[in-house]
Symmetry: C2
Subunit: 310 residues, 2 copies
């Protein structure tokens, strides 16, 4: 029998990779034959976490239906963020903490979404509910996921539950979150060795908003200006992505993980919708977004709302 | 502050009413200010359950946005089965056991769906997870919901979990499921006093299948032939519903709760899709469906599949 595949979204971040690995451990403990896989390159932040806890990166897959009939989605549900042939497999479960959109099933499904900061927090609760114990290395990865999604508990997406779960995981993993977390975030924020093309795909997601296609990429840094020196090169890359994928809008969020602010670099036919959403004016495609660090909570909802009337 | 409203689907069945009441109890125990409400008439089956456990029927509402900003959906998620102004309120939680379709949020949401036979089974698990106790009368209503949705554990939708939870609820409610359940089902199956119009709305749900509008009504009986004596009158009613609501297909499932078989009465532009889905031929709009008792598991999936290629 083929394995049940478990995976997160394309352009995987630390939560997507670590939650797939953790949920695979949980399902294995329950007797299922499962495998965590990934839909894209491992980021340097995630690589730092995997190395620290000595876990192999999941296997890369391009399509799922050639090897399995059933899959479990973690950390996403929107079809366009999932494996290309998602419509050819049966989604058996979803564990997620995002909005629900572009998702539809013919049969009842196990769907567990909670408005917490991180998928790993929900998986922790399922471990508890099932009375299973969390291996030390898995706890380390789950803690890494929470640190990553919450920017060390500073993002507005971070809930009390995330903080409480992180404390428990710290104990099990025997690691200090503050020091380890900052090192991990810095490992991810070092983009000096990345090409502009690579930089744009570290954490990019496509959204369908009132039938418009919007790509929102995010990159963490300790120096926004350093990234903006590549503005020309980034613009060329973004324009070719817009053309290739027929996008209506491309938003790059450059987030300063020390200052907890962002700068947006916005290109496309629908830049006016962005300006309306954030009540701002772009200057040479640039707008500063003070206090914004969360794509999910501070970028997607106002943009979705603005696109509603277009 | 206005109450957080909790409700199930239109044309409420026993699970929808009892799960709304039970989940309101659970959320109250957690300190929320909530109220269970209903979107339609109480069926005679549900009335029997409410009377047995001496619980008042929830208040009827026509719209939600005039009194609250936030709602919790139980036992449904599809927009067209919900309150008419669902798009004007924020859906805070969904507890459901159906397919996911026509549901979309701008923000992350608490969504808990499991492929079990009854919403009340999931609510039982949440009571356990939160360490809350279930009052005797609430246990009685939850047991009624499971008996109703599973036709006394005989429907193919009924899982081992539903049976195990029902056993626990039997104990808490201090009632014997087999005898009580048959009486409750029979109370619902007595449709002699109902007009044909009433009969068609006891348990009718609209589905969107590949952009076609399909209404599937179900009625329980101990004598299918008795219902079919009203065929002419039912046909007139159905035709006027199709016209008024611009439906592509109307399927009435008449289910014999003692024999566990159904007869379908099918009208509309797309009757051929029904014939294809069930590999059958309609004779004067009628086809027998041996062994079919579950709309969710045995009617919606094959019809959805057939409509996919239209």
């Amino acid at each position: 029998m083929s394995n049940l595949l478990i995976f997160g979204h394309k352009n995987p971040d630390t939560d997507t990779i670590c939650s797939a690995i953790a949920y695979a451990d949980l399902k294995s403990q329950l007797g299922y034959q499962v495998e965590a896989v990934r839909l894209g390159e491992i980021s340097s932040e995630t690589a730092y976490a995997l190395e620290t806890f000595q876990v192999e990166a999941p296997r890369f897959i391009q399509s799922a239906s050639n090897e399995t009939k059933e899959v479990i989605l973690v950390d996403h549900n929107e079809r366009q963020q999932s494996v290309d042939d998602i419509d050819s497999v049966h989604v058996r479960e979803v564990i997620d903490h995002h909005r629900i959109a572009n998702f539809e099933t013919a049969d009842p499904v196990y769907y567990r979404a909670e408005p917490v900061g991180c998928t790993a927090t929900i998986i922790y609760k399922i471990y508890q509910e099932k009375g299973l114990s969390i291996p030390k290395h898995i706890a380390g990865l789950m803690l890494s996921a929470i640190i990553s999604d919450s920017l060390l508990f500073k993002s507005p997406t971070c809930t009390e539950e995330d903080v409480a779960v992180a404390k428990e995981l710290e104990r099990i993993a025997e690691i200090e979150a503050a020091t380890y977390g900052l090192n991990m975030l810095k490992a991810g924020a070092d983009v000096s060795s990345k090409t502009s093309k690579e930089l744009l795909t570290i954490d990019a997601k496509e959204f369908s908003m009132n039938d418009f296609s919007v790509e929102i990429a995010q990159v963490n840094t300790v120096d926004i200006q350093e990234i903006l020196t590549r503005k020309q090169e980034l613009e060329t890359e973004i324009n070719s992505t817009i053309k290739a994928r027929n996008l209506d809008l491309y938003v790059l969020i450059i987030t300063d993980i020390l200052e907890n602010n962002s700068t947006a670099f916005v290109i496309g036919e629908k830049t006016a919708v962005f300006e309306e959403a954030f009540n701002t004016s772009l200057t040479q495609h640039i707008a500063s977004l003070p206090g914004v660090v969360s794509r999910k909570k501070q970028v997607v909802p106002p943009l979705t709302e603005s696109f509603l009337n277009k």
